[in-house]
């Protein structure tokens, strides 16, 4: 696979965080019929966690550095091929 720079790794990290937040057992902590500010705590938790994940996601992919990472994976991919060829020649 094309080197993704840090962006790819950050996304995988975020995915693991999302799994943690949305899956048991952590979700069980909020699985109570209590209200916080009039809103059920489970609903509040899910929507806040969801919004936070989207914000982080936007933050990660909209970084200027991610442009470079993406540029490496431009359509056409001739560049990838060429890179392969050069590394092949080096080794």
């Amino acid at each position: 696979m094309v080197r993704q720079g840090l962006t790819g790794e950050r996304l995988i990290g975020l995915f693991l965080l999302a799994l943690l937040l949305f899956m048991p057992p952590l979700i069980g902590v909020f699985d109570k019929p209590d209200l916080v500010g009039g809103i059920p705590v489970l609903y509040l938790y899910l929507f806040i966690a969801w919004a936070a994940l989207i914000a982080l996601l936007a933050l990660i992919v909209e970084q200027p550095q991610s442009e470079e990472d993406l540029a490496q994976a431009e359509p056409g991919a001739m560049r990838d091929q060429e890179r392969d060829r050069t590394t092949g020649a080096e080794s």
Partner: protein
């Protein structure tokens, strides 16, 4: 007042607007000024995921399951977090291979297998039809509900409508018209449907706004904000239960639905269509991966307040929670909002129907009908001149077929099911593609048979655990089938297969389908081997970012470019064919002549273009047909590969051989050089020896002649001459003995009688043997210093004596004539025996020191001085000592004398002794 006419007019106007937008989008695309080439439009088009099911069904599910509706939207968020890595890979693969549908993707990955393509198509059609019917049902129900305005309709008073008054039928027909107009305008399916995408994006905006409007209206218009809704709901203990996950079916349902929707967002045919096929630019994925989850968040924000609002406003009076969105504004007499909601629902449903139908129709025509017609048809279709018409007809027919099938389903079964259950059923069917796709892009070893086995087994289990029970629900099968299983076998009960109880039907079905699907996929893949084409496709899919070149397949074609052009004409029409070939000429910078033979590059390009129109599997069949079935079968390819690898082996062997030859040549050259040198040495030796022989011979001869010619010589003089003759003869004998001795030694033919001896006695014996010589030269003194602790050495004693005698006689010969002094010192030096023999003679000049140990070399000038030895003594000494593992050298100062020293290692000394012993053994042998 709302009349049926008003609602119909508004709906028709809305649909007309949709047609207009699609038309405009297509026009702009034709002009090359795309209006959909934007990540925002892309993200909005993906929101076709939110169908009427989301729009109406989410609230319905929330009313009975609390947050149970949410995993359907959290799953896609999870997938999109990885979207950049996974979705982008699928997009790249699809673009390179000009893939037109999910069936095409799976077929292409597993060796362009039309069986797989057909299977995926069948699963998709069977699995998705209920989903389409759900949209139709939503439209007709919402229409009926709205028609009852201002009364709030309940399921009981909805009743059933006769077919001709059923809005669902008309909506279905309008949708079919839309799909035919904007879905089959281009026959090349991979040349995206820009107008359709534009319309879908617009619909996504409409449904979001409509839902937000009703959400705000319910939350802030009817109630006093989020806190108010929930607080009032909390007062009722029956509603309080909805605040926790237990209402949502517990963790198992939560996890199952999350996983389902994670897969569905990519593998649902319509999602694949908008996400992959309609993607304009890979870079749009970047923005879409957070915009689309944001869209999902927004559209779900008001689901819970509306659900609780509905529950509070209509306490237990049988109003269908699925239509709270619509009935709440009706109950509050806000007809404008009710109409907006209806339009929003209409857009959600129509968007789904349009995309899904086009996607399914493409699959049906490319992966099901065409391969069958081309391969088995008696129509001789593959020989007909123009197939674009046939292709278009097939695709249009497929669209109508799919939509009508959806309608039939809703008429027959749909009534008995809630929206969400139908949708999730389709999700489970579509999820069957996930292992084959995910495995296909990550695991090169997955085989066609594995995918076939996994998919068919998963599908059969789906039919058994979800589809048949839905028939039972509709009264086609007896209810006892659900409870007790077929023939009363409870173990086979479709909702508790093999006694697996405690799961909801969806979680239960997901578990069993995935067990057999993934299990067989992996197991059969591991047990079977891939064909060549599977292998090359697998590598191309998995390593798409490494090799974007075309998976060079080997065609042994005899088709001309004209043949290919005609083939393309038949499926794509003349205009697009010419354009495609012109593009090829431009890109590759070469001219295509119709009479030219089609090389691999052109053939592959043609195949890819065709694949865009009729799917990869069909394209392969067609290309093979013009190439007169000359595509290498796998055995032939294998043979070529074998031959090639054999050649590689041969050339490697050759290389090795030539290297060995080179080495041998070098050795030979070295040997030759050495031989030449030896030859020269031999010549030198012969000339030196003859010279050495001549000197004594000359004097013997001349003195013999004198004695012979002068019989009257005095007796004294005669004796003197004879004496000289005897001495010279002795010298000759000695010379010959020495030469023989040395030659023997050098040839390694001397017999060595090695043994361990104490050197002191040997030295004393040698000195005793020399006593006579010293007695003859009274003015030469001998001084000896022999230590008592001399080490034992392993030598041939006679030879060592010879060395000592040689050195001593040399010392006598060369020491001072008047006051000669010969010294012999023997001592132990670092364990070795060291002997020095010195004299006080003229010494050896520097220039002679190098050659003193060579044969026939004597110190001094042999031409002037009378030779004082054979000139072989020192070379013999050196030979002997080297044989003992020792060494000899000398120190000299001109005018003061010289000292010859030698050293012999003690017994047991590794280097010298062992070597000697081995050599000695060889000599004796």
């Amino acid at each position: 007042m709302l009349t049926g006419l008003t609602i119909l007019t508004v709906s028709l106007l809305y649909l007309l607007l949709l047609f207009a937008i699609a038309y405009y989008g297509d026009r702009r695309a034709d002009q090359g000024r795309s209006i959909i080439a934007s990540p925002y439009v892309y993200a909005l088009s993906i929101a076709v995921y939110c169908t009427a099911w989301t729009y109406y069904g989410s609230v319905g599910r929330a009313a009975s399951a609390g947050v149970g509706f949410l995993p359907i939207y959290l799953g896609p968020t999870l997938t999109f977090i990885l979207g950049w890595l996974a979705i982008r890979k699928i997009i790249r693969i699809s673009k390179v291979n000009r893939i037109t549908s999910i069936a095409d993707f799976v077929a292409s990955r597993y060796g362009k297998s039309y069986y797989l393509g057909g299977l995926v198509t069948i699963i998709a059609v069977v699995g998705i039809i209920p989903y389409i019917s759900l949209q139709l049902k939503a439209i007709s129900t919402s229409f009926t509900v709205l028609l009852r305005y201002p009364a709030v309709a309940t399921p009981e008073n909805l009743g059933s409508t006769p077919i001709l008054q059923d809005t669902a039928l008309y909506v279905a027909l309008i949708m079919a018209a839309f799909a035919i107009l904007f879905g089959t305008r281009h026959i090349d399916a991979s040349e995206r449907h820009e107008g359709m995408v534009a319309a879908i994006a617009f619909e996504s905006v409409v449904k979001l706004i409509a839902f937000l409007v009703v959400g705000v209206f319910v939350t802030y218009g009817i109630f006093g904000g989020f806190g108010d809704v929930f607080s009032r709901a909390a007062a009722d203990p029956a509603f309080q239960k909805l605040f926790t996950l237990s209402a949502a079916g517990g963790y198992s349902d939560w996890i199952a639905i999350t996983l389902l929707s994670m897969a569905a967002i990519v593998v649902l045919p319509r999602q694949f269509q908008v996400l992959v096929v309609e993607n304009v630019d890979e870079r749009h994925v970047k923005k879409a991966i957070w915009l689309f989850p944001l869209y999902l968040l927004l559209i779900n924000l008001f689901v819970l307040p509306i659900a609780f609002g509905g529950l509070l406003v209509f306490p237990r009076d049988g109003v269908d929670p699925d239509f709270f969105v619509l009935t709440l504004p009706i109950a509050e007499h806000f007809e404008a909002i009710a109409v907006i909601v209806f339009i929003g629902g209409l857009s959600a449903a129509t968007g789904m129907i349009i995309v899904e139908t086009i996607a399914l129709a493409t699959m049906v025509s490319n992966d099901l009908v065409m391969p069958v017609l081309l391969r088995y048809g008696r129509l001789h279709l593959s020989e007909r001149a123009d197939l674009t018409g046939v292709l278009r007809a097939i695709r249009r027919g497929a669209i109508i077929f799919v939509i009508l099938l959806g309608y039939v389903y809703v008429r027959l079964i749909g009534e008995s099911y809630a929206l969400v259950s139908i949708g999730l059923m389709s999700f489970v069917a579509a999820a069957q593609f996930a292992p084959a796709i995910l495995g296909g892009i990550l695991w090169k070893g997955a085989t066609r048979l594995g995918a076939l086995a996994g998919l068919s087994a998963g599908f059969l289990v789906w039919v058994y655990t979800l589809l048949l029970p839905s028939f039972a629900g509709a009264g086609w099968l007896s209810q006892s089938f659900l409870q007790d299983g077929p023939w009363g076998l409870t173990l086979l009960s479709p909702y508790a297969l093999f006694g697996l109880e405690g799961l909801s039907p969806i979680a239960h079905a997901l578990f069993w389908t995935m067990v057999v699907n993934v299990g067989l996929y992996v197991a059969i893949s591991l047990a079977t081997t891939q064909s060549m084409i599977e292998r090359s496709q697998a590598v191309q899919f998995v390593d798409i970012f490494k090799h974007t070149s075309d998976g060079a397949r080997i065609w042994r074609g005899r088709a001309t470019i004209g043949d290919l052009r005609r083939l393309m004409n038949r499926f794509m029409g003349e205009g697009p064919t010419d354009q495609a070939l012109l593009r090829f000429e431009r890109e590759k910078g070469r001219r295509l002549d119709d009479s030219q033979a089609g090389d691999a590059e052109v053939v592959q390009y043609a195949e890819r273009q065709l694949a865009g129109t009729i799917g990869a599997a069909s394209a392969r069949i067609m290309i093979a047909s013009v190439l007169r079935e000359e595509m290498h079968d796998i055995d032939a390819v294998m043979q070529i590969l074998d031959e090639a690898s054999q050649l590689v082996v041969y050339s490697r062997q050759l290389e090795e051989k030539s290297k060995q030859l080179e080495a041998a040549t070098a050795e030979l050259r070295a040997a030759n050089e050495r031989l030449t040198e030896l030859d020269k040495m031999k010549d030198d030796f012969v000339s030196t020896v003859s010279h050495e022989f001549r000197t004594p011979l000359t004097s013997i001869r001349s003195f013999s002649e004198i004695v012979h010619d002068n019989p009257d010589l005095g007796i004294g003089q005669r004796n003197e001459f004879l004496n000289i003759i005897v001495q010279e003869s002795e010298r000759l004998t000695r010379l010959i003995n020495d030469i023989l001795d040395l030659a023997k030694m050098e040839a390694g033919k001397t017999a060595w009688h090695m043994r361990e001896i104490a050197p002191k006695r040997l030295i004393e014996t040698a000195l005793a043997a020399m006593a006579g010589l010293f007695a003859k030269n009274p003015n030469i003194r001998l001084e000896t210093d022999i230590a008592d602790d001399l080490p034992t050495v392993y030598v041939d004693p006679d030879r060592l004596t010879q060395v000592l005698v040689n050195l001593l006689s040399n010392a006598i010969k060369f020491c001072n004539r008047e006051d000669g002094l010969v010294t012999l010192v023997a001592r132990a030096e670092v364990g070795a025996l060291r002997v020095d023999v010195g004299d006080n003679g003229v010494g050896i000049a520097k220039q002679d020191s190098q050659k003193i140990f060579e044969r026939f070399q004597q110190a001094g000038d042999t031409l002037i001085d009378k030779p004082q030895g054979t000139g072989l003594g020192l070379p013999i000494c050196r030979h002997i000592l080297e044989r003992f593992g020792g060494e000899i050298w000398f120190k000299s100062e001109v005018g003061k004398g010289s000292t010859f020293s030698f050293r012999i290692p003690p017994v047991g000394y590794a280097g010298g002794i062992r070597g000697s012993r081995r050599a000695a053994g060889a000599d004796l042998g």
